[in-house]
């Protein structure tokens, strides 16, 4: 097995014990990148070639030299007998939504294509301080708006390592694809409506949306401030836990980062699920989507294989000693997407006001006119369609009486979704769940071009993940199996506030119980030619 396919946990351990050199791990990662990634996403790109369609295109900016300096520093510290950090020498990638000082941070948008942040995001700083080696910035949906990575202004957009004609999911598609294809062990992404979990499911990796406020948002370019959660992507549960323990914790620069102690997420991760109460909900075994003409909600059962994966997983956990609680009602989850449409757009539209060509980023070339002209031209040329849609919708819904009609109702929906979770997890309540088990996405990865352009339907692929964002609760997506077509399917575990340790425990138990399953031996197709 190439060094770059090993777990972060093992790599860090070996490096700290002097059994492995960080520069060797880096070299292995760079080799993998050269083999599978193809040309990085760029603003000015030539049309897609045959070759392009066989590559992953996870990266926007590769920081090889910088990474080498970091790896050398790690090795030097180990030689000197110093503590090189919990993630010593582990190669990681960063979604290009996080500011990294001295390196371009583009948010996959033209309007920031030339922006170099003068500061580093707290979450990233903590990873670097812990010895992680940053390979570079990976691609995403523009400003994190999307569920397929297709809206990026930097093309070619990322492709799914399991089937390169399919999307990797989004908006943290580059992160998930990189991890899945061995381009680094870990990646840090963001999840606002499912943007870590859904691509993790599509790419067959582990992704965690922590509790809102668990990880600092300072330095993360804001999408929807009350929903955004930075989080880890990894190839196994223990690595995700390790990464969370480094990133989590209060930050004096973020007023919404909770001041609660960070538990040792690795301790007890292997305690198993005996006695755990794991719930299933009918409301999460169906999908809904709006009738394109009337807008009325149409309910359908999930595709059989997704449903079966979920029920099978419940069975596996039951065999390990968990108590399965069926029919837990989550009646308000059906408002998840409509409420998300409203809240995320109102906040996003305000967050995008600052991109005006005055202080940083793209400025339209001098027009005849005045300042108003500058604003209009800069924003027209700098933003793609998705940001424009969000800004317009946000403006529409926050003005005057429409605010009452839509925004207030959306906030209400959020409160009611939260109440559903509180009831489900209430230790004195009727269900007393430790974990709610659901599928992560209604389908496996779809083909590129299938949904892009239909923003409504695209959004609905987040319907199983978005409720956790509204409620703020933590949710973990882990690989649950492969579809008949050989595509990854994701299993989601949702828990109460700050119960990430419980989620890791349940996820780890499932991993162990299915360690020898056939489907775990299958590799992403892009790796077939490698080695």
């Amino acid at each position: 097995m190439s060094l770059t396919d090993q777990s972060a946990f093992d790599i860090a351990h070996k490096i700290k014990r002097g059994e492995l050199a960080a520069v060797d791990v880096l070299d292995a990662a760079l080799e993998r990148i050269a083999a599978v990634d193809g040309r990085p996403g760029a603003l000015d790109y030539s049309p897609l070639t045959q070759e392009d369609q066989t590559k992953v295109h996870a990266f926007i900016t590769l920081t090889a030299d910088r990474a080498r300096q970091q790896a050398e520093r790690v090795d030097a510290r180990v030689s000197a007998g110093e503590d090189a950090g919990a993630l010593a020498g582990v190669p990681i990638t960063i979604k290009d939504l996080f500011c990294l000082k001295g390196v371009p941070t583009t948010a996959a948008s033209r309007i920031l294509s030339n922006f170099v942040a003068p500061y580093t995001a707290t979450a990233v700083k903590r990873l670097e301080d812990a010895g992680a080696v940053v390979l570079g910035k990976v691609n995403m949906d523009e400003f994190a708006y999307g569920s397929s990575n297709e809206s990026s202004a930097f093309k070619p957009t990322t492709r799914n390592p399991w089937d390169l004609s399919r999307v990797p999911g989004g908006s943290s598609g580059g992160s998930a694809a990189a991890v899945a294809s061995g381009q680094g062990c870990l990646s840090v992404g963001t999840d606002t409506g499912g943007s870590i979990r859904q691509p993790a499911a599509y790419c067959g990796v582990v992704g965690l949306k922590p509790t809102y406020g668990r990880i600092s948002r300072y330095g993360v370019i804001a999408f929807a401030s009350s929903l955004d959660c930075p989080g880890p992507l990894a190839r196994n549960v223990r690595d995700a836990a390790l990464m969370l323990s480094v990133m989590a914790g209060a930050d004096t620069r973020d007023s919404t980062a909770v001041r609660l102690p960070v538990p040792d997420y690795l301790a007890g991760i292997d305690r198993g699920v005996k006695g755990m109460r794991i719930g299933l909900s009918k409301d999460y075994l169906q999908i809904s989507y709006p009738d394109p003409d009337t807008g009325e909600t149409i309910m359908e059962d999930l595709p059989a294989e997704i449903r079966n994966m979920t029920l099978c997983a419940a069975g596996t956990l039951a065999a390990e000693g968990a108590e399965i609680v069926e029919n837990v009602p989550m009646p308000n989850s059906i408002y998840g997407i409509p409420a998300y449409f409203v809240i995320s757009r109102v906040e996003a539209s305000s967050n995008l006001h600052r991109f005006d060509g005055v202080k940083y980023g793209y400025r339209a070339r001098a027009s005849q006119g005045d300042l108003a002209e500058l604003y209009r031209q800069t924003r027209a040329e700098g933003f793609g369609l998705e940001p424009k849609l969000r800004v317009l919708m946000g403006m529409y819904m926050s003005g005057g009486q429409l605010s009452l009609q839509y925004f207030q109702r959306a906030l209400q929906a959020r409160s009611m979704i939260r109440a559903d979770f509180e009831t489900a997890f209430d230790p004195d309540g009727p269900y007393r769940l430790d974990v709610l088990l659901t599928p992560t996405a209604p389908t496996p990865a779809f083909k590129m071009g299938d949904f892009y352009g239909d923003s409504t339907l695209m959004q609905y692929s987040d319907q199983l993940t978005v409720s956790a964002n509204h409620a703020g609760v933590p949710a973990l997506s882990i690989p649950g199996g492969l579809s008949a077509e050989g595509l990854p399917m994701g299993l989601q575990m949702i828990g109460p506030d700050f119960a990430e340790a419980t989620l890791f425990r349940a996820g780890y138990a499932f991993e162990q119980a299915t360690a020898d399953a056939d489907w775990r031996a299958v590799k992403p197709c892009v790796l077939a030619e490698v080695e």
Binding site: C99, L112, P118, S255, S350, H353, R354, Y360
Partner: protein, 497 residues
């Protein structure tokens, strides 16, 4: 031919208005708090002389990915002001985003407070010219962040973010004021209060206290509100007074001529002392306020709030009244002696040390100490001439040890040297000459030296008396006891007749 728009004087009432009309004025003030740092980041709040864009950080420059973190001192000072304005301090208040585009607003929104602000209600009682007290009610009192500055030069706008994020309290009055003088008086009292509390330097010329005035007129005695205009860019109390007066006259003349007041925004041109119309007030920009998601609700405990209220110092008007009732001082004196806290504290400390007539002390301070303060540019608490030293000097004068003139000069000596008055008197031999025989010999010498003047005086030129006094004073280095000298000199000038 008479200008048809001019209003004949005989039709004006005591405020100078057409007797049928009254003015209705509301003031919107922005108060810059004197915290060390900005409201949402750790840059300095005061960057008055700094080169442009040097007092900035990612947060106040509105870079992508930044977040606001609320300054505890801004909350304290805001609450203190709310308490002093008799407003209710809300235990839970919220910040909201006010969204609009302008180059001095880097985030494209201002973090402010919309409906559930820190302060609720409130008022300030202001003694108006004419002697009555008007209660000016407050309709808004909230915290917000300042924008940067722009200036126009060479066809372009130059933008400086140094001031972005400075903490402001916005305070809006009901339209309770009825004249430009009342508006000026409100601002004077507000400025005094802000300095009194120590929450703002309140220097209008430096933009610590900014004011927009809303002006309308209506038939005297009515209660409805007519269309108002908004006056901006008035940077001093006098400018406020002049601008409001001018606008009232304009509106009255307009209405008299059959016209209608439109809701214009007017810009005050200080150099030319006139009002210019800015672009007409379009439909109020839709700011699309919504709760600021990057900040938690501001939650204060009732203990904290009660402590703020408890710690309120005695306010200026209260102290002024106390000076009047307890010390029997006239309003004029009490007003001057409570102009700021240092001088009020100075007075009371001096009175305690002096133990004598409060009015005598008041005179000394009003005539001598205040002048000294002005000349030296010092606050009363920075004087080397401490209240205790002042008291000592006055007691020396009262006791006749030195005369008044010497006393006044002594104040300066104390301030310059820092030595105790008694010590200086002893060292320089400043004691008043009161000994009759000593005085007599000086007087005799002076008269002997100036026989012609004596002739003139006795011949009827009685004005020379003052000159003779001056001569005696000179010979005694100013230390002659004036009363005794006068009596003896009179006798001497008459006696030889």
């Amino acid at each position: 031919m008479m200008n048809p728009l001019a209003v004949p004087d005989q039709h004006r009432n005591k405020d100078g208005l057409m007797a049928d009309f009254e003015a209705v004025i509301g003031l919107e003030t922005h108060i810059q708090l004197n915290t060390v740092t900005k409201i949402f980041c750790s840059c300095k709040a005061d960057s008055w002389q700094d080169p442009p864009n040097t007092n900035i950080c990612p947060v106040c420059a509105g870079l992508p990915g930044v977040l606001p973190v609320l300054n505890e001192a801004a909350v304290y000072k805001g609450a203190l002001l709310a308490a002093a304005m008799h407003a209710e301090i809300r235990l839970v208040s919220y910040f909201d985003r006010k969204n609009y585009f302008y180059p001095d607003l880097p985030k494209g929104y201002q973090i402010s407070q919309f409906d559930l602000a820190l302060g609720d209600g409130g008022y300030l009682d202001v003694t108006m010219p004419g002697g009555f007290v008007r209660r000016v009610n407050i309709t808004k009192l909230h915290l917000e962040e300042d924008a940067g500055k722009t200036k126009y030069e060479g066809g372009q706008r130059l933008v400086d973010f140094n001031r972005c994020g400075v903490p402001l309290v916005e305070m809006v009055t009901e339209p309770d004021l009825r004249s430009a003088d009342e508006a000026a008086q409100y601002l004077i009292r507000l400025r005094q209060l802000l300095r009194w509390l120590g929450v703002s330097e309140a220097d209008m010329e430096k933009g610590h206290l900014r004011c927009d005035a809303n002006v309308s007129i209506r038939t005297a005695g009515s209660t409805y509100l007519n269309t108002k205009t908004e006056i901006k860019n008035v940077n001093s109390i006098e400018a406020v007074r002049a601008a409001i007066n001018m606008e009232i006259e304009r509106q009255v003349a307009l209405v008299q001529a059959g016209g209608q007041v439109e809701s214009w925004t007017l810009d005050w041109d200080e150099t030319r002392q006139r009002l210019n119309k800015m672009r007409s007030k379009e439909t109020e920009a839709d700011y699309r306020y919504f709760r600021e998601p990057d900040l938690l609700p501001l939650e204060l405990t009732s203990e904290w709030r009660d402590a703020v209220i408890q710690n309120l110092p005695e306010l200026p008007l209260e102290r002024q009244l106390r000076f009047m009732t307890r010390f029997q001082l006239p309003e004029y004196d009490a007003d001057i002696l409570t102009a700021d806290r240092p001088i009020a504290d100075y007075y009371e400390a001096a009175l305690t040390a002096y133990g004598g007539d409060p009015k005598i002390l008041s005179n000394w301070i009003m005539n001598e100490v205040l002048r000294m303060q002005n000349e030296l540019g010092l606050s009363a608490d920075a004087l080397t001439l401490t209240p205790e030293y002042l008291a000592e000097v006055i007691r020396l004068v009262d006791a006749g040890t030195i005369n008044a003139a010497t006393g006044k000069a002594l104040l300066v000596k104390v301030q310059q040297s820092g030595q105790a008055p008694q010590a200086i008197v002893a060292a320089e031999g400043l004691s008043q000459v009161s000994d009759d025989s000593a005085l007599q010999s000086v007087i005799d010498a002076v008269l002997a030296a100036h026989p012609q003047e004596v002739e003139s005086y006795r011949g009827g030129k009685e004005g020379l008396f003052g000159w003779f006094m001056g001569q005696v004073m000179r010979q005694t280095r100013g230390q002659a006891d004036p009363a005794k000298t006068r009596a003896l000199l009179q006798k001497a000038l008459q006696g030889k007749r």
